[in-house]
Each structure stands twice: as C-alpha cells, then as structure tokens.
C-alpha cells in the first residue's frame, strides 16, 4: 500500500475515534447537574470537525484504493459478508453522521444556555448525542471486522 493511502486510512480511523470521544463527552456533559455549555459547544464542534475529516480521508482511501485493491480479496475470501454487509452499511451510515453532528452542534451553540431550563429539549439533545455516539461506535467496530476480513 502506498504511503498516502496508509496515511489516509490511519487518519480516517483516528479521526473517527476522536469523533466518538468528543460525542461521548457531549453525552456526559449533558448528563451533569449543571451543564458545562462552553465545553459542550466545543466538544460538539470538534466532533463535527473530526467526522468531516474522517469522512474526507476515508472517502479518498475508499474511492481510490479500497475498491480495486481490498474489496475483491474480501469478496472472494472466507468472509465476503464483511464487505457485502458491513462495509456497504458502514459507508452509507457514515454519510449521515456529519449532518447529524452539525445539527447537534448548532442546537448546542444556539440553545445551550437554555437547556438547564428546558428539560424536554435537554432530553432530546442527550438522546441525539447518544444515538450519534452509538452509530459511530458501530461504524468503528464494522471497520475492525472489515480490516480483519481483508487480512
């Protein structure tokens, strides 16, 4: 594998995990008695940025390397479902994450100070942050499965 593709793959994984961590911090922050609004604004913004960069770096690797160099081996190997189920699902689920995280950031940026006084909205935002965190974790675990099948 060329160095550039190795770098983009590593960046994709690292940035994706960072996105999960920042999203999880948002969940934890929202569950505190007194919401740390500034921390939430930054965490959600960093989560969005991390997912965007992970999207771009992973997309580059996927479009220009994975399709012709990794996919055929997985499909013809012992675990074709790693691509046909997990990769196919992962690559499309991941497309939704940056939009959802951007929406999360905007809500926290514009309504963050009001969350302590609006329990309904606070609960909804907690659930959104939790859903994004869980989906991104599922995507990460899917990536591990695909990598294992590709070896």
């Amino acid at each position: 594998m060329e160095t550039l593709f190795a770098v983009t793959l590593i960046a994709h994984v690292v940035l994706g995990i960072l996105g999960v961590i920042f999203c999880y911090l948002v969940v934890l922050g929202l569950l505190k008695k007194t919401i740390p609004v500034k921390m939430l604004k930054w965490s959600s913004f960093l989560a969005f940025g991390a997912y965007m960069l992970s999207w771009l770096s992973g997309g580059y690797y996927y479009v220009f390397y994975y399709g012709s160099n990794v996919k055929p081996g997985i499909k013809e190997g012992a675990y074709p479902w790693a691509h046909l189920v997990f990769m196919e699902a992962k690559e499309h689920i991941f497309l939704m994450i940056p939009f959802a995280t951007f929406a999360l950031w905007v809500v926290l940026f514009t309504k963050g100070e009001q969350l302590d006084m609006d329990p309904k909205l606070k609960t909804s935002v907690v659930w959104l942050a939790a859903v994004i965190t869980i989906l991104a974790t599922i995507i990460t675990l899917s990536g591990i499965i695909i990598t294992g099948a590709g070896r």
Partner: protein
C-alpha cells in the same frame, strides 16, 4: 435539523434504490466518478438548500418549530436508517449468496 433529517432520508433512499435499480447507481457513478461520492454530494446539496431555505423563512419568528420534536425525529430517522440499511444488505447477501 430538518436538513440533517432529509439528508439522512435521501442517503437511505439512494442507497436502497441504487442497489435495486442499477441505472440510478450508474448515473451517480457517471456524474460523480463514484456512486458513494454522488450520494454524499447530493446529500450536501439537499442539506444546504433545505437548511438555508428554512432559515430564511423562519429567521424572523421567535420560536419556529418545536425544536425538541425535530431533534427527536432526527434521532428516530438515524436509528431507522441504520437498521434499515443493515437489514437490507443482510437480505441482499442472503438472497444472492
């Protein structure tokens, strides 16, 4: 919020429809080099158009829509789309292998 929700719905639609109707997938590939890139581009376009339009339409209103309901619907859509995609690709794998 609505932009993110509709973008997620579009991604789900293009994914399933593209697998079931190959001319759609080929169209995305012909227009954007790769079908996955095409899905991303159209999702971004839809998101920007919807978000901008709604912002312009509601910016003078003090409280536009019930925000907590919109946030909930986005969460439901994300979960539904994820489950739907996994089930779809599991079905496709089972049906063709």
């Amino acid at each position: 919020m609505i932009g993110a929700l509709l973008a997620s719905v579009l991604i789900l639609f293009l994914t399933v429809a593209g697998e079931l109707y190959s001319p759609l997938k080929n169209l995305l590939k012909d227009l954007h080099y790769h079908h996955w890139v095409g899905k991303g581009i159209w999702a971004v376009i839809l998101f920007v158009v919807v978000t901008t339009s709604l912002y312009m339409a509601t910016k003078d209103q003090s409280e536009s829509l019930a925000l907590n309901r919109l946030v909930n619907w986005l969460s439901y859509t994300l979960v539904f789309a994820t489950v739907a995609m996994f089930l779809f690709f599991m079905y496709e794998y089972g049906a063709h292998h």
